[in-house]
């Protein structure tokens, strides 16, 4: 398909222009999304664009009583609404839920494109700027709706990841991990905390969300650090210790790169059977509507997952010079494709409610236990849209086993508006699923329909 605006150019073109247009290429095929979901994915040839495809869902916020559609055997409740850009959720052991009302720092304009993209992507958001606060929600009647709301922390620096180890609450701002003393039942924290380690932050901070999880033994923190560009266009020095998963020692704050080549890793979480670290990773743009599939994968110590040099194992990205053949040779093929540009930003394993007070009764039906929930924020550079839903992927023996099942849909309208966009996920102590919706300004709670 020729891009419409290229026709007048072509008629005015001289020979080199026509040649270069041919280089720009055509793209007609949009593969069935199913071809890129699961362990084996179909990868078309990469394209070079003059004007990459873009399709933005303009906001049409939920109106009174509107909610996403729950999957078979499930129901959805508005756990909280009227929030400002809730981006991540964390369930505390006493049942309280933390929500980060957060957004990234204002990106600098390095190229004219940055300005234009900022204007275009700005049409996908609505409402006031996020205060960068953390809100505590309490469902004191245990009905699945938070009836109390407290401002837990204020004016942080783009907070995203949260993890509790004992009485230490760790918050991953975009530029540092901070430790706070937390007492169960506490509804606000005013002390400034203690910095455990700096993280790669501004001034560019392209992928700013820092996902955080504690190791099962509580001695290490794992931090997802996204790349500082789509594909190195801000220069390799800007990528120092980025596109990686850091392992941070809780006692000393020292870190090492646990895994690398993960372009934008989020939803870091430990699989409950094998205790292996998993993540969802957002892959690169502008190679085509079906490149590159975002993925969910177990994370191997010292593993290299391709970015920037290659994708899905050893498929070289022509936009990266100089290449690094030594690294590409050991690039790991991810475990499970989720589809191109679905933008997975949240992941949580379904424990089924093994913890008190339910003691295994579980808020989730049996067919939704043991696997992974994934929140797909949705595409902006692909027609038709991809993502904009929460899915469940069954697991067996600590590995994905089967096709995804829809858990929450209905975020998009028939006329290409978006009511909401799912982001961060958490399973609460009942085993129900909490979903932050940063466009719909809500937290949805998904549990068994009864």
């Amino acid at each position: 398909m020729m891009r419409p605006w290229s026709l007048p150019l072509l008629s005015a073109a001289s020979a080199p222009l026509a040649l270069a247009l041919a280089l720009a290429g055509c793209h007609s095929q949009v593969a069935s999304p199913d071809d890129q979901i699961g362990p084996d994915v179909v990868l078309p040839a990469p394209h070079n664009y003059l004007l990459p495809p873009m399709k933005i869902a303009t906001p049409a916020p939920w109106e009174n009583g509107q909610a996403p559609t729950a999957g078979a055997g499930l129901k959805v409740q508005a756990f909280a609404s009227g929030l400002i850009h809730p981006r991540s959720v964390y369930a505390l052991p006493n049942g309280d839920v933390l929500v980060a009302e957060t957004d990234g720092p204002h990106p600098p304009i390095n190229r004219p494109k940055d300005y234009i993209m900022g204007v275009i992507k700005g049409t996908a958001t609505k409402g006031p700027k996020a205060p960068n606060d953390i809100i505590l929600l309490r469902d004191s009647h245990h009905v699945g709706v938070a009836d109390q709301r407290f401002t837990f922390m204020t004016h942080r620096h783009s907070p995203f990841g949260m993890a509790l180890i004992g009485n230490d609450l760790y918050v991953a701002d975009t530029d540092a991990v901070i430790r706070f003393h937390y007492t169960p039942g506490q509804t606000t924290i005013t002390d400034p905390g203690e910095k455990l380690t700096d993280l790669p932050g501004g001034p560019i901070d392209h992928h700013w969300t820092k996902s955080l999880v504690a190791s099962p033994d509580g001695t290490k923190l794992y931090v997802g650090i996204g790349s500082n560009s789509n594909i190195t266009e801000n220069g390799m020095p800007a990528e120092f210790e980025r596109a990686a998963i850091w392992e941070v020692d809780v006692a000393t704050g020292a870190h090492r790169l646990y895994a690398t080549g993960t372009r934008n890793p989020n939803g870091l979480t430990f699989e409950p059977v094998t205790h292996k670290l998993w993540a969802v990773v957002n892959e690169r743009d502008e190679l085509g509507p079906n490149l590159v599939p975002d993925y969910m994968t177990s994370i191997t110590d010292h593993g290299f997952y391709g970015w920037p040099y290659s994708y899905w194992g050893k498929h070289l990205d022509p936009r990266v010079k100089p290449q690094a053949p030594d690294l590409v040779a050991k690039a790991i093929v991810p475990d499970y494709g989720l589809g191109s540009h679905v933008a997975p930003l949240g992941m949580a394993f379904s424990t089924g409610g093994a913890m008190p007070p339910n003691n295994g009764a579980g808020a989730m039906p049996p067919q939704y236990r043991g696997g992974a929930f994934v929140g797909e924020h949705g595409s902006w550079d692909r027609d038709p849209f991809n993502g904009y839903k929460v899915i469940y992927i069954p697991f067996a023996n600590g590995r994905p086993a089967g096709k995804p099942v829809d858990v929450l849909t209905g975020f998009l309208t028939a006329d290409d508006h978006a009511h909401g966009r799912p982001v961060g996920l958490a399973t609460d102590i009942d085993g129900s699923l909490l979903v932050a919706d940063d466009l719909g300004n809500s937290v949805w709670r998904v549990s068994a329909a009864q």
Binding site: L9, A13, L51, K113, E233, G235, E286, R319
Partner: protein, 147 residues
Amino acid sequence: MQNDPASGLPRPYFASLMTFPAACFIAAAMTDLIYARSANMTWETFSIWLLTIGLITAGVFVVIGLIQALGQHRWPSLITRIGYAIVLVLSLFNAFVHSRDGYTSVVPAGLTISVVVVAVLAATWVLNQVVRSHRSYPASFHLSERS
């Protein structure tokens, strides 16, 4: 600017004004060459800003040129008009190529177009000189500044 002795009207400003965007496009070709040798994205960033500034200023100068042409009937030479039309179409196209991310924003298409643009600029100037050197006698050789 010097007025045309025959008519007393000002000469067309367009060709003189366009030396600024032309300098931007020539500089972009140079920074493209440096990027192609170094793979240092800073040079690619130079190129895309030079192309952008060149195109925006050229847009203003085309409007000035058209106002003068339609209002005072002072047209730049046919060679100048054709030459810059090719340069601007190619450079607009080149700006899109340079807005890609990474190496393919320059190599090979972007650098190729930048070099072609420099060649078209050079050809425009040389041809204008050749025509001008023949212009005085006889007057019918005038391709430029028809009123």
